[in-house]
């Protein structure tokens, strides 16, 4: 067990993973050294440094507001794991 503050059980819940205890232990063991490694960024004084979010500095890119055809419903639903003729079918969530 590492001293990592990354708690795999908590993060699994956030990421929607249902891991076995063995898998959870393995990820906890593997991620510890990675977290320790990325901690090297704390060496740097970053006062006054702006973050870089994108590969190129662009903002507010707009296109003409023209309606274009999009995929039709039948085509989209063909990839659905479960669907009616018009909708994705999901487990009931309201009794």
């Amino acid at each position: 067990m590492s001293d990592s503050s990354l708690d795999v059980a908590h993060v699994c819940a956030l990421a929607h993973f249902d891991l076995s205890p063995e898998e959870m232990a393995r990820f906890q063991r593997e991620l510890g050294p990675i977290v320790a490694y990325v901690n090297k960024l704390s060496e740097l004084d970053l006062t006054g440094i702006e973050p870089t979010q994108y590969g190129q500095p662009v903002a507010n890119v707009l296109r003409e507001d023209v309606v274009e055809p999009s995929l039709d419903r039948e085509t989209v639903l063909r990839n659905a794991p479960d669907a009616s003729e018009t909708e994705f079918r999901m487990p009931r969530i309201v009794e």
């Binding site: 993060v11 929607h16 990325v38 704390s42 973050p51 590969g55």
Partner: protein
């Protein structure tokens, strides 16, 4: 019909032969399909081959030529990494979670290739969702390095490089988020070009890390890479990150290419202990040839290089955790529901059994760096260090036109040698991720083979954003010097 030997046929020479009428696109495409059938069993580059679609596309290309059309890619088959949506074809990203998915549309790069007359002929293997550097993280099959079958082809675009190097494709399209075009090109002895961020549309390309991903060619030589880049570059209303800047004539930029008077920077941080001495020697020898040919070579410093891997594995995993949230078993791909039939179990089980271990590892790391209490300490901090990495390059490119350095610290490594040590595997990306963080364009070209085992080694050339003409001219000149 005599079959055509495609084992070392370039796109440009195939096009010359098509123009002369030496063979038709149908004959060329059939030869590619026959070669795949005969030889890919030993390499494992292709996940699926679309023989019917490819031959139909070839017949159409031949008809277009008879009608008077003439284009550099007209009638040329191209292998596609399994990350691109090609209408009517599977697009699994080498992941079980996308088993059964059939692309309902063409990615912009695919539509552009088709408009130029190129033919998507099959889908090649990759690390699952482009996460990896060996193609061993594919959920479906092992791909071997055609030069050394006990070794990896590199990754994540390993299938692309193996297909081109193994004589199973004339050229291929891949993607590069942290080196996934350049490193497999280096390992297999091909040319692999990562365009500048914003040069090529990503619409219809399954997203891994959206501030880093770029699409680019893996090809037999620099001229072919230029031809493919020409076809796919340029603004796209479907991708607002793809910039509306003019697309230069890349092939014309190659004419009379020379390094004479070119200012070349050699970053001292890329020539450090831990790099294979044979790799270092081959790259140094290439730089010496550039100097002998009249380039002005100077040592430069990129002082934040040592932080790039840490920045990359925070930024890339954070973005991946958000991008891969769309794979939830609802609209496409794998669905699995637990015994209680609940919605929660549908999300959890579809994702848990759909994603492989490397993808899960990165989603976990990325989810964590974005989670409450860690966002500022990790994600935001990494974005600030990314600024420092970018500034290093800006300062360097104020003094030099191009940077020459290694692609990877080693030649192709043996199958099964890194999969059990994720951190060690991540550290091997040290020379390629900085270009993605800074939005640069870069290329790997072959610069010789190791003396002991004859393994290919790549030379990396980096140029500022949108300086592809300089990049290609430099690569073409170096290719000539290294022949």
């Amino acid at each position: 019909m005599a079959s055509i030997d495609i084992s070392s046929l370039s796109v440009a020479s195939a096009q010359d032969a098509l123009r002369r009428g030496d063979f038709t696109s149908v004959e060329l495409t059939q030869s590619v399909l026959d070669t795949i059938a005969a030889k890919d069993g030993a390499i494992g580059a292709y996940l699926t081959v679309d023989a019917d679609g490819a031959l139909a596309g070839a017949a159409e290309a031949d008809a277009r030529r008879r009608a008077g059309e003439d284009r550099d890619l007209l009638g040329i088959p191209v292998a596609m990494k399994d990350i691109f949506n090609v209408k009517g074809q599977p697009c699994t990203c080498a992941s079980r979670i996308l088993e059964g998915y059939v692309a309902p549309f063409d990615a912009t790069v695919v539509a552009r290739l088709r408009a130029e007359g190129a033919i998507p002929c099959g889908r090649v293997n990759m690390d699952e969702f482009a996460m990896g550097a060996s193609t061993e993280h594919s959920a479906f099959q092992v791909t071997r390095n055609p030069v050394a079958p006990d070794r990896v082809p590199g990754g994540s675009s390993g299938g692309s490089a193996a297909a081109v190097a193994g004589g199973l494709a004339l050229a291929s399209l891949g993607t590069d988020t942290g080196g996934s075009i350049r490193q497999p090109a280096s390992f297999c002895g091909c040319v692999g070009l990562k365009p500048s961020y914003g040069r090529v549309s990503r619409y219809g390309v399954t997203a891994f890390a959206s501030s880093l991903d770029q699409v680019g060619p893996i090809a037999r030589d620099v001229e072919d890479a230029a031809i493919l880049l020409q076809a796919i570059a340029g603004a796209d209303p479907h991708d607002q990150t793809c910039l509306d800047r003019p697309v230069p004539d890349y092939r014309a930029a190659l004419a009379g290419a020379s390094v004479e008077g070119l200012r070349i920077g050699v970053p001292k941080e890329y020539f450090v202990e831990g790099t294979d001495p044979q790799v270092m020697a081959l790259v140094r020898a290439a730089i010496d040839k550039a100097a002998a040919a009249g380039a002005r070579v100077e040592e430069i410093s990129l002082p934040h290089t040592e932080y790039a891997i840490a920045v990359y594995y925070i930024v890339a995993t954070a973005e991946a955790s958000a991008n891969l949230a769309r794979f939830d078993g609802v609209r496409y791909g794998r669905r699995e529901v637990g015994p209680d039939g609940s919605l929660q179990s549908l999300y959890d089980l579809s994702r848990t059994h759909g994603f492989g271990p490397e993808v899960k590892r990165r989603i976990l790391l990325g989810t964590w760096v974005l989670s409450s209490g860690y966002y500022d300490a990790y994600y935001n901090r990494a974005l600030k260090v990314r600024t420092l990495v970018r500034r290093d390059f800006e300062a360097a490119f104020a003094k030099v036109d191009a940077i020459l350095c290694p692609v990877a610290p080693t030649p192709a490594f043996k199958l099964d040698s890194t999969v059990n040590d994720p951190l060690q595997a991540y550290l091997c990306d040290a020379f390629t991720v900085p270009a993605n963080l800074a939005g640069l364009c870069g290329v790997s070209i072959p610069c010789g083979r190791t003396a002991d085992l004859g393994l290919p080694v790549g030379l990396q050339i980096l140029c500022p954003p949108f300086a592809e003409p300089t990049l290609l001219r430099t690569a073409r000149a170096m290719e000539g010097l290294l022949k």
